[in-house]
Protein backbone atom coordinates (compact mmCIF):
# COMPACT_ATOMS: atom_id res chain seq x y z
CA UNK A 1 0.00 0.00 0.00
CA UNK A 2 1.39 3.31 -1.02
CA UNK A 3 0.57 5.15 2.18
CA UNK A 4 2.54 2.77 4.37
CA UNK A 5 5.48 2.97 2.05
CA UNK A 6 5.22 6.76 2.15
CA UNK A 7 5.38 6.92 5.92
CA UNK A 8 8.35 4.61 6.00
CA UNK A 9 10.12 6.72 3.42
CA UNK A 10 9.31 9.92 5.28
CA UNK A 11 10.74 8.52 8.48
CA UNK A 12 13.88 7.50 6.66
CA UNK A 13 14.31 11.04 5.41
CA UNK A 14 13.78 12.57 8.82
CA UNK A 15 16.39 10.25 10.19
CA UNK A 16 18.86 11.12 7.49
CA UNK A 17 18.70 14.92 7.56
CA UNK A 18 17.41 17.67 9.80
CA UNK A 19 14.16 18.95 8.34
CA UNK A 20 12.31 20.90 10.99
CA UNK A 21 8.94 19.63 9.83
CA UNK A 22 8.01 16.62 7.70
CA UNK A 23 5.85 16.61 4.63
CA UNK A 24 2.71 18.72 4.43
CA UNK A 25 -0.31 16.71 5.59
CA UNK A 26 -2.60 15.78 2.69
CA UNK A 27 -5.47 17.85 4.10
CA UNK A 28 -3.35 21.02 4.25
CA UNK A 29 -2.10 20.98 0.71
CA UNK A 30 -2.81 24.05 -1.38
CA UNK A 31 -2.36 24.83 -5.01
CA UNK A 32 -0.40 27.93 -6.01
CA UNK A 33 -3.83 29.14 -7.15
CA UNK A 34 -4.91 29.44 -3.51
CA UNK A 35 -2.02 31.82 -2.80
CA UNK A 36 -2.89 34.20 -5.64
CA UNK A 37 -4.94 37.36 -5.58
CA UNK A 38 -8.53 37.31 -6.84
CA UNK A 39 -7.62 39.09 -10.07
CA UNK A 40 -4.95 36.57 -10.99
CA UNK A 41 -7.32 33.73 -10.15
CA UNK A 42 -9.91 35.32 -12.42
CA UNK A 43 -7.36 35.37 -15.26
CA UNK A 44 -6.91 31.61 -14.93
CA UNK A 45 -10.59 30.85 -14.56
CA UNK A 46 -11.81 32.56 -17.73
CA UNK A 47 -10.59 30.88 -20.90
CA UNK A 48 -10.77 34.16 -22.84
CA UNK A 49 -8.68 35.90 -20.19
CA UNK A 50 -6.18 33.06 -19.64
CA UNK A 51 -3.24 33.72 -21.94
CA UNK A 52 -2.18 30.07 -21.56
CA UNK A 53 -5.12 29.24 -23.82
CA UNK A 54 -3.26 30.87 -26.72
CA UNK A 55 -0.70 28.06 -26.47
CA UNK A 56 -3.46 25.47 -26.13
CA UNK A 57 -4.87 26.71 -29.43
CA UNK A 58 -1.44 26.49 -31.03
CA UNK A 59 -1.08 22.99 -29.64
CA UNK A 60 -4.41 21.97 -31.11
CA UNK A 61 -3.21 23.07 -34.53
CA UNK A 62 0.07 21.19 -34.07
CA UNK A 63 -1.81 18.09 -32.97
CA UNK A 64 -3.42 17.93 -36.38
CA UNK A 65 -0.36 18.91 -38.41
CA UNK A 66 1.56 16.28 -40.34
CA UNK A 67 5.23 16.15 -39.44
CA UNK A 68 8.42 14.22 -40.06
CA UNK A 69 9.47 11.61 -42.60
CA UNK A 70 6.41 9.52 -41.69
CA UNK A 71 4.21 12.49 -42.57
CA UNK A 72 1.87 11.70 -39.70
CA UNK A 73 0.06 13.94 -37.26
CA UNK A 74 -0.55 13.20 -33.59
CA UNK A 75 -4.22 12.91 -34.48
CA UNK A 76 -3.50 10.21 -37.10
CA UNK A 77 -2.58 7.81 -34.28
CA UNK A 78 -4.36 9.27 -31.25
CA UNK A 79 -7.51 10.66 -32.83
CA UNK A 80 -9.57 13.08 -30.79
CA UNK A 81 -7.31 14.33 -28.00
CA UNK A 82 -10.27 15.11 -25.73
CA UNK A 83 -10.78 11.35 -25.45
CA UNK A 84 -7.33 9.86 -26.04
CA UNK A 85 -5.33 12.36 -23.99
CA UNK A 86 -7.78 12.68 -21.12
CA UNK A 87 -5.87 12.03 -17.91
CA UNK A 88 -2.50 11.57 -19.60
CA UNK A 89 -0.85 14.77 -18.36
CA UNK A 90 -2.16 14.05 -14.86
CA UNK A 91 0.05 10.94 -14.71
CA UNK A 92 3.32 12.39 -16.03
CA UNK A 93 6.25 12.22 -15.36
CA UNK A 94 5.98 8.43 -15.49
CA UNK A 95 8.50 5.63 -15.27
CA UNK A 96 9.28 4.10 -18.63
CA UNK A 97 10.22 0.42 -18.26
CA UNK A 98 11.64 0.47 -21.82
CA UNK A 99 14.02 3.32 -21.03
CA UNK A 100 14.53 2.35 -17.40
CA UNK A 101 13.96 5.92 -16.21
CA UNK A 102 11.26 8.46 -15.51
CA UNK A 103 10.11 10.50 -18.50
CA UNK A 104 8.20 13.78 -18.38
CA UNK A 105 5.44 14.79 -20.76
CA UNK A 106 7.74 16.90 -22.92
CA UNK A 107 10.10 13.95 -23.37
CA UNK A 108 7.18 11.64 -24.06
CA UNK A 109 5.98 13.94 -26.83
CA UNK A 110 9.45 13.99 -28.33
CA UNK A 111 9.85 10.22 -28.24
CA UNK A 112 6.52 9.95 -30.07
CA UNK A 113 7.86 12.39 -32.64
CA UNK A 114 11.03 10.38 -33.08
CA UNK A 115 9.44 6.95 -33.23
CA UNK A 116 6.08 7.53 -34.90
CA UNK A 117 6.55 10.69 -36.93
CA UNK A 118 10.26 10.28 -37.62
CA UNK A 119 10.54 13.97 -36.87
CA UNK A 120 13.20 15.96 -35.07
CA UNK A 121 12.63 16.49 -31.37
CA UNK A 122 11.20 19.86 -30.38
CA UNK A 123 13.63 21.92 -28.32
CA UNK A 124 12.92 22.07 -24.62
CA UNK A 125 10.97 25.24 -23.75
CA UNK A 126 10.35 25.96 -27.45
CA UNK A 127 7.01 27.48 -28.37
CA UNK A 128 5.87 24.32 -30.16
CA UNK A 129 6.78 21.94 -27.36
CA UNK A 130 5.08 24.19 -24.81
CA UNK A 131 2.03 24.41 -27.07
CA UNK A 132 1.69 20.64 -27.43
CA UNK A 133 2.29 20.12 -23.72
CA UNK A 134 -0.32 22.75 -22.87
CA UNK A 135 -2.82 21.25 -25.30
CA UNK A 136 -2.35 17.75 -23.91
CA UNK A 137 -2.36 19.12 -20.36
CA UNK A 138 -5.63 20.93 -21.03
CA UNK A 139 -7.30 17.58 -21.72
CA UNK A 140 -6.69 16.65 -18.08
CA UNK A 141 -7.84 19.90 -16.52
CA UNK A 142 -10.00 19.13 -13.51
CA UNK A 143 -8.68 15.59 -13.11
CA UNK A 144 -6.71 14.40 -10.10
CA UNK A 145 -2.95 14.08 -10.34
CA UNK A 146 -2.03 10.40 -10.22
CA UNK A 147 1.26 8.60 -9.85
CA UNK A 148 1.83 4.94 -10.59
CA UNK A 149 2.96 2.57 -7.85
CA UNK A 150 5.71 0.34 -9.15
CA UNK A 151 9.31 -0.24 -8.27
CA UNK A 152 10.74 1.98 -11.01
CA UNK A 153 8.44 4.88 -10.14
CA UNK A 154 9.14 4.53 -6.43
CA UNK A 155 12.87 4.63 -7.02
CA UNK A 156 12.58 7.75 -9.17
CA UNK A 157 10.34 9.43 -6.55
CA UNK A 158 12.94 8.70 -3.90
CA UNK A 159 15.60 10.24 -6.06
CA UNK A 160 13.43 13.35 -6.54
CA UNK A 161 12.78 13.52 -2.84
CA UNK A 162 16.52 13.44 -2.16
CA UNK A 163 16.94 16.45 -4.42
CA UNK A 164 14.02 18.22 -2.72
CA UNK A 165 15.44 17.77 0.76
CA UNK A 166 19.12 18.32 -0.06
CA UNK A 167 20.61 21.56 1.20
CA UNK A 168 22.56 23.08 -1.62
CA UNK A 169 24.03 26.19 -3.15
CA UNK A 170 25.83 29.11 -1.53
CA UNK A 171 22.71 29.82 0.51
CA UNK A 172 22.65 26.21 1.75
CA UNK A 173 18.89 25.83 1.38
CA UNK A 174 16.75 22.86 0.42
CA UNK A 175 13.45 23.07 -1.43
CA UNK A 176 11.81 21.52 1.63
CA UNK A 177 12.98 24.26 3.97
CA UNK A 178 10.84 26.80 2.13
CA UNK A 179 8.07 24.75 0.54
CA UNK A 180 7.41 22.18 3.28
CA UNK A 181 8.42 24.13 6.37
CA UNK A 182 7.69 27.77 5.56
CA UNK A 183 4.90 27.92 3.00
CA UNK A 184 2.76 30.14 5.16
CA UNK A 185 5.41 32.88 5.12
CA UNK A 186 6.44 35.55 2.71
CA UNK A 187 9.74 35.80 0.95
CA UNK A 188 10.03 39.57 0.67
CA UNK A 189 6.55 40.46 -0.64
CA UNK A 190 5.67 37.15 -2.21
CA UNK A 191 3.96 34.12 -0.69
CA UNK A 192 6.36 31.17 -0.52
CA UNK A 193 3.69 28.63 -1.62
CA UNK A 194 3.90 24.87 -1.25
CA UNK A 195 5.40 24.27 -4.66
CA UNK A 196 2.56 22.03 -5.81
CA UNK A 197 2.89 21.63 -9.60
CA UNK A 198 -0.84 21.80 -10.31
CA UNK A 199 -0.99 24.01 -13.39
CA UNK A 200 1.98 23.35 -15.66
CA UNK A 201 2.82 24.53 -18.16
CA UNK A 202 1.89 27.87 -16.58
CA UNK A 203 1.45 31.34 -17.95
CA UNK A 204 3.66 33.21 -15.50
CA UNK A 205 3.04 36.94 -15.45
CA UNK A 206 6.68 37.46 -14.54
CA UNK A 207 7.71 35.67 -17.72
CA UNK A 208 4.91 37.14 -19.85
CA UNK A 209 5.07 33.74 -21.40
CA UNK A 210 4.16 30.11 -20.96
CA UNK A 211 6.81 27.99 -19.27
CA UNK A 212 7.46 24.48 -18.04
CA UNK A 213 7.84 23.21 -14.50
CA UNK A 214 11.54 22.73 -15.15
CA UNK A 215 11.90 26.39 -16.09
CA UNK A 216 10.25 27.29 -12.80
CA UNK A 217 12.46 24.90 -10.84
CA UNK A 218 15.52 26.45 -12.42
CA UNK A 219 14.38 29.89 -11.20
CA UNK A 220 14.40 28.70 -7.60
CA UNK A 221 17.72 26.90 -8.01
CA UNK A 222 19.30 30.06 -9.40
CA UNK A 223 17.95 31.90 -6.37
CA UNK A 224 19.76 29.68 -3.88
CA UNK A 225 22.96 30.01 -5.96
CA UNK A 226 23.32 26.35 -6.75
CA UNK A 227 24.44 24.55 -9.89
CA UNK A 228 21.37 24.59 -12.13
CA UNK A 229 20.84 21.39 -14.16
CA UNK A 230 20.12 21.78 -17.87
CA UNK A 231 16.53 21.67 -19.09
CA UNK A 232 15.53 18.04 -19.47
CA UNK A 233 18.14 16.79 -16.96
CA UNK A 234 17.11 13.52 -15.35
CA UNK A 235 17.51 15.07 -11.92
CA UNK A 236 14.87 17.66 -12.78
CA UNK A 237 12.54 15.01 -14.25
CA UNK A 238 12.77 13.05 -10.99
CA UNK A 239 12.18 16.21 -8.97
CA UNK A 240 9.10 16.87 -11.13
CA UNK A 241 7.91 13.33 -10.46
CA UNK A 242 8.41 13.72 -6.72
CA UNK A 243 6.47 17.00 -6.77
CA UNK A 244 3.62 15.36 -8.68
CA UNK A 245 3.61 12.49 -6.20
CA UNK A 246 3.55 15.08 -3.39
CA UNK A 247 0.52 16.67 -5.13
CA UNK A 248 -1.20 13.34 -5.92
CA UNK A 249 -4.97 13.65 -5.79
CA UNK A 250 -4.86 17.42 -6.27
CA UNK A 251 -6.64 18.82 -9.30
CA UNK A 252 -4.76 19.62 -12.49
CA UNK A 253 -5.42 23.23 -13.61
CA UNK A 254 -3.43 23.36 -16.86
CA UNK A 255 -2.92 25.92 -18.25
CA UNK A 256 -2.43 27.66 -14.92
CA UNK A 257 -1.78 31.37 -14.46
CA UNK A 258 0.72 32.39 -11.79
CA UNK A 259 2.32 35.69 -10.76
Amino acid sequence: MISRWRIAAALAVIGATFPAIAEIPMSERKSGYDFMGKQTQAMQDDDTANAGMLWVLDGEALWKRHAGAANKSCADCHGDASASMKGVAARYPAFSPALGRAVNLEQRINSCRAERQQAKPLAYESKDLLALTAFIGRQSRGLPITVADDAGTRKAIESGRATFTRRQGQLNLSCAQCHDDNWSGRLAGAPVTQGQPTGYPIYRLEWQNLGSLQRRLRNCLTGIRTIVPALGAQELVELELYLMWRARGMTLETPGVRP
Binding site: Q170, N172, L173
Partner: protein, 142 residues
Protein backbone atom coordinates in the same frame (compact mmCIF):
# COMPACT_ATOMS: atom_id res chain seq x y z
CA UNK B 1 38.78 15.48 -7.51
CA UNK B 2 42.20 16.95 -6.81
CA UNK B 3 41.13 20.22 -8.41
CA UNK B 4 38.02 20.32 -6.26
CA UNK B 5 39.97 19.85 -3.07
CA UNK B 6 42.53 22.39 -4.12
CA UNK B 7 39.77 24.92 -4.94
CA UNK B 8 38.18 24.47 -1.57
CA UNK B 9 41.43 24.79 0.29
CA UNK B 10 42.53 27.89 -1.51
CA UNK B 11 39.12 29.51 -1.02
CA UNK B 12 39.12 28.68 2.66
CA UNK B 13 42.53 30.21 3.02
CA UNK B 14 41.01 33.59 2.14
CA UNK B 15 38.63 33.53 5.09
CA UNK B 16 39.80 35.06 8.37
CA UNK B 17 40.16 32.56 11.15
CA UNK B 18 37.96 32.91 14.20
CA UNK B 19 37.34 31.22 17.50
CA UNK B 20 33.92 30.14 18.70
CA UNK B 21 33.42 30.44 22.43
CA UNK B 22 30.08 29.13 23.64
CA UNK B 23 27.47 30.45 21.20
CA UNK B 24 29.54 33.45 20.15
CA UNK B 25 32.57 34.65 18.22
CA UNK B 26 33.74 37.33 20.66
CA UNK B 27 36.55 38.74 18.49
CA UNK B 28 36.00 40.85 15.40
CA UNK B 29 36.87 38.97 12.21
CA UNK B 30 38.89 41.93 11.00
CA UNK B 31 40.24 43.02 14.36
CA UNK B 32 38.37 46.30 13.97
CA UNK B 33 34.87 47.50 14.69
CA UNK B 34 32.45 47.59 11.76
CA UNK B 35 30.61 50.62 10.41
CA UNK B 36 26.93 50.48 11.39
CA UNK B 37 25.88 52.79 8.54
CA UNK B 38 27.47 50.52 5.96
CA UNK B 39 25.94 47.58 7.81
CA UNK B 40 22.48 49.06 7.49
CA UNK B 41 22.94 49.43 3.74
CA UNK B 42 24.08 45.81 3.45
CA UNK B 43 21.08 44.54 5.43
CA UNK B 44 18.67 46.60 3.33
CA UNK B 45 20.19 45.55 0.02
CA UNK B 46 18.35 42.57 -1.40
CA UNK B 47 21.24 41.57 -3.65
CA UNK B 48 24.03 41.92 -1.09
CA UNK B 49 22.75 41.16 2.39
CA UNK B 50 19.55 39.42 1.24
CA UNK B 51 18.34 39.84 4.84
CA UNK B 52 14.98 41.48 4.07
CA UNK B 53 13.94 38.59 1.88
CA UNK B 54 13.38 36.54 5.03
CA UNK B 55 13.54 39.06 7.91
CA UNK B 56 11.59 42.20 8.61
CA UNK B 57 13.37 45.07 10.28
CA UNK B 58 13.23 48.76 11.14
CA UNK B 59 13.37 49.91 7.51
CA UNK B 60 10.34 52.11 6.96
CA UNK B 61 11.50 52.91 3.41
CA UNK B 62 11.64 49.26 2.33
CA UNK B 63 8.43 47.64 1.20
CA UNK B 64 7.83 43.91 1.21
CA UNK B 65 10.06 42.55 3.90
CA UNK B 66 10.12 38.85 4.63
CA UNK B 67 8.24 36.99 7.35
CA UNK B 68 10.23 33.74 7.35
CA UNK B 69 12.62 34.72 10.14
CA UNK B 70 12.59 36.82 13.34
CA UNK B 71 12.17 40.59 13.12
CA UNK B 72 15.56 42.27 13.31
CA UNK B 73 14.20 45.01 15.57
CA UNK B 74 15.73 44.53 19.01
CA UNK B 75 18.44 42.16 17.75
CA UNK B 76 21.03 44.22 19.63
CA UNK B 77 19.12 43.72 22.86
CA UNK B 78 18.61 39.99 22.39
CA UNK B 79 22.19 39.18 21.36
CA UNK B 80 25.69 40.37 22.13
CA UNK B 81 27.93 41.37 19.19
CA UNK B 82 29.74 38.05 19.55
CA UNK B 83 26.49 36.10 19.41
CA UNK B 84 25.35 38.07 16.38
CA UNK B 85 28.70 37.39 14.72
CA UNK B 86 28.38 33.61 15.07
CA UNK B 87 24.77 33.73 13.87
CA UNK B 88 25.97 35.57 10.76
CA UNK B 89 29.08 33.48 10.17
CA UNK B 90 27.41 30.08 10.45
CA UNK B 91 24.02 29.78 12.07
CA UNK B 92 23.99 26.02 11.58
CA UNK B 93 26.43 25.77 14.48
CA UNK B 94 23.57 26.85 16.74
CA UNK B 95 20.70 25.13 14.95
CA UNK B 96 21.62 22.55 12.30
CA UNK B 97 18.15 22.82 10.74
CA UNK B 98 18.15 26.61 10.46
CA UNK B 99 16.97 28.29 7.27
CA UNK B 100 19.56 31.04 7.84
CA UNK B 101 22.33 30.73 5.23
CA UNK B 102 25.92 30.61 6.49
CA UNK B 103 27.27 34.02 5.50
CA UNK B 104 30.93 33.32 6.18
CA UNK B 105 31.50 29.67 5.36
CA UNK B 106 32.64 28.14 2.12
CA UNK B 107 33.30 24.53 3.03
CA UNK B 108 30.83 21.68 3.46
CA UNK B 109 28.45 23.26 0.99
CA UNK B 110 26.86 21.26 -1.81
CA UNK B 111 26.81 22.18 -5.49
CA UNK B 112 27.52 25.88 -5.18
CA UNK B 113 27.03 27.71 -8.50
CA UNK B 114 30.37 28.44 -10.20
CA UNK B 115 29.94 32.20 -9.83
CA UNK B 116 29.76 31.84 -6.04
CA UNK B 117 32.02 28.84 -5.45
CA UNK B 118 34.63 29.41 -2.78
CA UNK B 119 33.18 32.79 -1.85
CA UNK B 120 31.32 33.60 1.34
CA UNK B 121 28.01 35.47 0.99
CA UNK B 122 29.62 38.46 2.76
CA UNK B 123 33.29 39.19 3.38
CA UNK B 124 34.77 39.79 6.84
CA UNK B 125 34.43 43.58 6.66
CA UNK B 126 30.80 43.27 5.62
CA UNK B 127 30.09 40.82 8.44
CA UNK B 128 31.58 43.29 10.93
CA UNK B 129 29.55 46.16 9.43
CA UNK B 130 26.35 44.14 9.80
CA UNK B 131 27.23 43.05 13.34
CA UNK B 132 27.88 46.72 14.21
CA UNK B 133 24.55 47.74 12.73
CA UNK B 134 22.49 44.96 14.31
CA UNK B 135 24.07 45.79 17.69
CA UNK B 136 22.50 49.27 17.45
CA UNK B 137 18.99 47.77 17.18
CA UNK B 138 18.10 48.07 20.85
CA UNK B 139 14.48 49.03 20.46
CA UNK B 140 12.05 46.20 19.79
CA UNK B 141 9.50 48.66 18.42
CA UNK B 142 9.90 49.64 14.80
Amino acid sequence: MAALVFGTVSARAELKSYKVIGDAIPQSLTGAAGDPLKGRAIVANRQVGLCLLCHSGPFPEERFQGTLAPDLAGAGTRWSPGQLRLRMVDSTRINPATIMPPYYRVDDLTRVAPAFAGKPVLNAEQIEDVVAYLSTLKDVKK
